[in-house]
């Protein structure tokens, strides 16, 4: 029987929203306070949802230890306490939470083999959250 399992993780990072292809004025108009040249930070909440049949022998969709270790090694170590703008993944990409959400989805999609990745949800603040499921519609 198929179930969905979701796990939440915390990391903190800074970023500045700025696109070199735009004029200074355009950047300010588009990104507002987020365009502050010195950057600013967030406590991000990452919610990873995987799915699969519940293994009859273990009662699990996948072992949480495997998911935790993968996310710790491949996601949190990469992004936690970093300035996102300085990371190779954002060399030509504005580190909006939309783009960060897609990058984290891709990392999990490529590397995590123990269950099917359903979606990645990323909370930037208590008021803003973003979800990405590889381009498909989300199940309500």
């Amino acid at each position: 029987m198929k179930a969905h399992l979701s796990r939440r993780y915390l990391f903190s990072a800074s970023h500045r929203l700025h696109n070199d292809a735009m004029s200074a004025e355009e950047n300010r108009a588009t990104y507002g306070k987020c365009n502050n040249p010195h950057g600013h930070g967030h406590n991000y909440v990452l919610e990873v949802t995987v799915s699969g049949p519940v293994d009859e022998r273990t009662g699990m969709v996948c072992n949480l230890v495997d998911l935790d270790q993968f996310v710790e090694r491949e996601v949190l170590e990469r992004f936690d306490h970093q300035n996102l703008n300085t990371l190779p993944g954002f060399a030509g990409t504005v580190p909006t939470t939309e783009n960060l959400c897609e990058q984290i989805y891709d990392i999990l999609q490529r590397g995590f083999g123990y269950a099917h990745l359903e979606k990645v949800r990323l909370e930037e603040t208590l008021m803003n959250s973003f979800e990405y499921a590889g381009g498909v519609e989300l199940r309500k």
């Binding site: 029987m1 198929k2 179930a3 969905h4 399992l5 979701s6 796990r7 939440r8 993780y9 949802t49 519940v54 022998r57 273990t58 009662g59 699990m60 969709v61 072992n63 949480l64 230890v65 199940r139 309500k140």
Partner: protein, 136 residues
């Protein structure tokens, strides 16, 4: 179609153990959760039902009835229990969050008359939850 979600909480203890595994396998696969004396959680339950809004009542479901069904079928059986020892489903199955969500679905689904069960969500901790949408 409108979706309605009702929350509830229950506290219970459990442990993870498969008698078909060796002690070493049980320890390796289930880690701390394999302690035979059990450990506990404050579980949070979210039950989502769906249906058309009744023109006369304006309801998808009578919340009082839904609450009573949840109390009778789920909370009375699970709250303040040792799941492995006191809940029949878990004499054969390991009471993981996955299996708890599935068991709750099967307890609720046949009892709901007007609205249709859409999702059972069980939080073991605020950072870990399972969704079950039925067998389809």
């Amino acid at each position: 179609m409108v979706y309605l979600t009702r929350k509830a909480e229950f506290s219970a203890s459990h442990y993870y153990h498969n008698p078909e595994f060796t002690p070493d396998e049980n320890k390796r696969i289930f880690g701390k959760c394999n302690n035979p004396n059990g450990h506990g959680h404050n579980y949070a339950l979210e039950v989502t039902v769906k249906g058309e809004v009744d023109q006369r009542s304006g309801f998808v479901v009578d919340l009082k009835q839904l609450k009573e069904i949840m109390n009778k079928e789920v909370l009375d059986a699970l709250d303040h229990r040792f799941l492995n020892k006191e809940v029949p489903e878990f004499s054969r199955q390991i009471p993981t969050t996955e299996n708890i969500a599935i068991a709750i679905w099967h307890r609720l689904e046949p009892k709901l008359r007007t609205a249709k069960l859409h999702r059972v969500r069980v939080y073991e901790t605020p950072d870990l939850f399972v969704d079950f949408y039925g067998e389809a």
